[in-house]
Symmetry: D2
Subunit: 197 residues, 4 copies
């Protein structure tokens, strides 16, 4: 219905996370109304992203700059005895924002929906096992989401990391801020009783 | 617009928790269509509620039967060293359903939205302080909701109960089942890190 | 878990429209806290509802008072050439509130989910056909909801009433107040174009 | 917190319609994982958009190709006596999809939130008035949204176009597909009664 170029761009934007065809077409009409300089600024930012942003050799966090390690892994002030395993980049970011955790990270790159080989290959198990051989690491914090897939991944990791001999912990389950007992599921309420203090 | 009797009943139902005028009028038209026996059964159930249901002298849980104590408080199998303070009857029920907690309860009857005298009178502080003099009680678990008012009430109770010399605990905060790190608030995420295990 | 009387009342309230077990138990605890006079007022209102509210012989609207016809059907100011068929009492009420329609009504008592005999018996087809023989009636407005079941019922009624020889109309389809073209379904948008003026 | 390039791109994406910082950062991490060819395809599509897509001289619909008119305005099969005024490109598209309207369009480019000069300048009033001098045009269909701003714009246009001597119509208001009388606002229900047929 739209012109071929518009249709093509709608199709590309529709693959962006959370974006459907309706939103994708709003993006295109938004771009059509943008001044030329802003279009150029967007295009150059996207182009240089791929060229200048590297992925950290140790934790797989994207970063710019010299060397093979990101700012967090290079930072001498971080506690190298702690490694927190997260599903994705934005989870690392959420944790950094609370400004409480001072250890290192490992970005898994996904979750398991099954224990099939193909699924397991999608997350960085091998790299993780190799990384965990580092004798500096004393505690591994598994911080996958508490969704079904996050829990399955957590169980898988616990087993895979058992032989490492490191302390393995998981984030505490309990009542989140703002919640009411009446609407809490049994598991959460049980955990909240267990972890009372 | 409706007949006076219908209007009167809509008005009464509109005061029920969670019910607005629209739902209240649906209730009335539902009753109009009910067979006579079911209306009588409803009317008799409501009437006998007030006559036969008593409130437990110790925990304020409603119950039927002999004596002054409810089934939980009478049950020799319950751990009398633990008392869990909840806001309302349904919270007690939610906790009973997880079948994990074996202590006793205390129903506060509400929460504080301020520390004004009038507000404090609405919850059973005096009865609570009296109850907590029981030397059998070793631990008081404050299980108010983690809403703003629940938290304010919890703080107030903690202070009020300090002089009792009992151990005072609160339900663990953390990530509930099914949640994602990305959408957790800072406080919840901080608690989840602290209570990792 | 609760006492038998409380459980019984929870069960009765759970059958009320839109009410689940959780809300039903909140209703019961609300009643337990009500003063005796208010309980008595509720009980007497429910009891007298069944005894004093009749259903209009012509339109099936519930009413109190003398005679066999409701206020609307008795009102000499209403236009007796117009009859609006609605699904239920609250729909009649919604239309009365806009203060625009001056004809009479017919409450169908439900919708059809299929054209099976059992389903058709649930709505007042026979009474409707009889009512429509009234020579005063010139136009029949079918005002069922525009849901799937409402539409099916409307089609069924249109066919059933065809032989009456009366003018049969349906409420206009179009864009409701506050809506956006972008989110309108095709049928609604088509109707909006057709009924432009 | 992120690297400067990532932060820059998050900032640019955050200005896209419906996109907040959280979604914007998901876009960036999605791009980081895309293969080089797909990035290049996105970049080239955005770049050529601005260079190859023109805006129709008559209706302001974006198009590719020769000449000054879009496919719709060039199409000899379209009814040139009808012009439908819409707020934005996606509205034109929604109407084209129902495959019912065979006239031409005029894209206004926005709505009025007030009748201040600055606001009026944001929509193409002058271009519209000029376009409406075309003697081929017999009916002007104002198809702004039925939101507050859409209605205000519609009123403004009606006044502005009055002197044109053309027939001016608006999309029909009424009950949309799937709706229930009980939840309809008064205005919509009134319109539905008026436009019954």
């Amino acid at each position: 219905m739209h012109s071929p170029l518009i249709e093509k761009l709608i199709k590309i934007f529709s693959k962006f996370p959370t974006v459907g065809p309706r939103t994708a077409s709003r993006f295109v009409f938004y771009l059509l109304r943008l001044p030329k300089e802003e279009i150029e600024s967007l295009v150059s930012a996207i182009s240089s992203l791929k060229n200048n942003v590297k992925v950290c050799n140790s934790c797989f966090n994207p970063f710019e700059g010299e060397g093979e390690l990101c700012e967090i892994c290079q930072n001498p002030g971080r506690d190298k005895s702690l490694v927190c395993i997260v599903e994705k980049e934005t989870d690392l970011n959420s944790i950094e924002k609370i400004n409480k955790y001072k250890g290192l990270y490992f970005i898994l790159g996904g979750t398991l929906s099954s224990l099939k080989k193909d699924d397991i290959k999608k997350i960085k198990t091998e790299e993780l096992l190799k990384r965990m051989k580092d004798p500096q690491v004393k505690e591994i914090i598994i911080a996958t989401n508490s969704t079904t897939e996050g829990e399955a991944t957590s169980l898988y990791l616990e087993r895979a990391l058992k032989s490492s001999g490191k302390k393995i912990t998981r984030l505490g389950r309990g009542l989140p801020k703002g919640s009411e007992l009446e609407y809490a599921d049994d598991e959460t309420l049980s955990s909240a009783f267990e972890s009372r203090k």
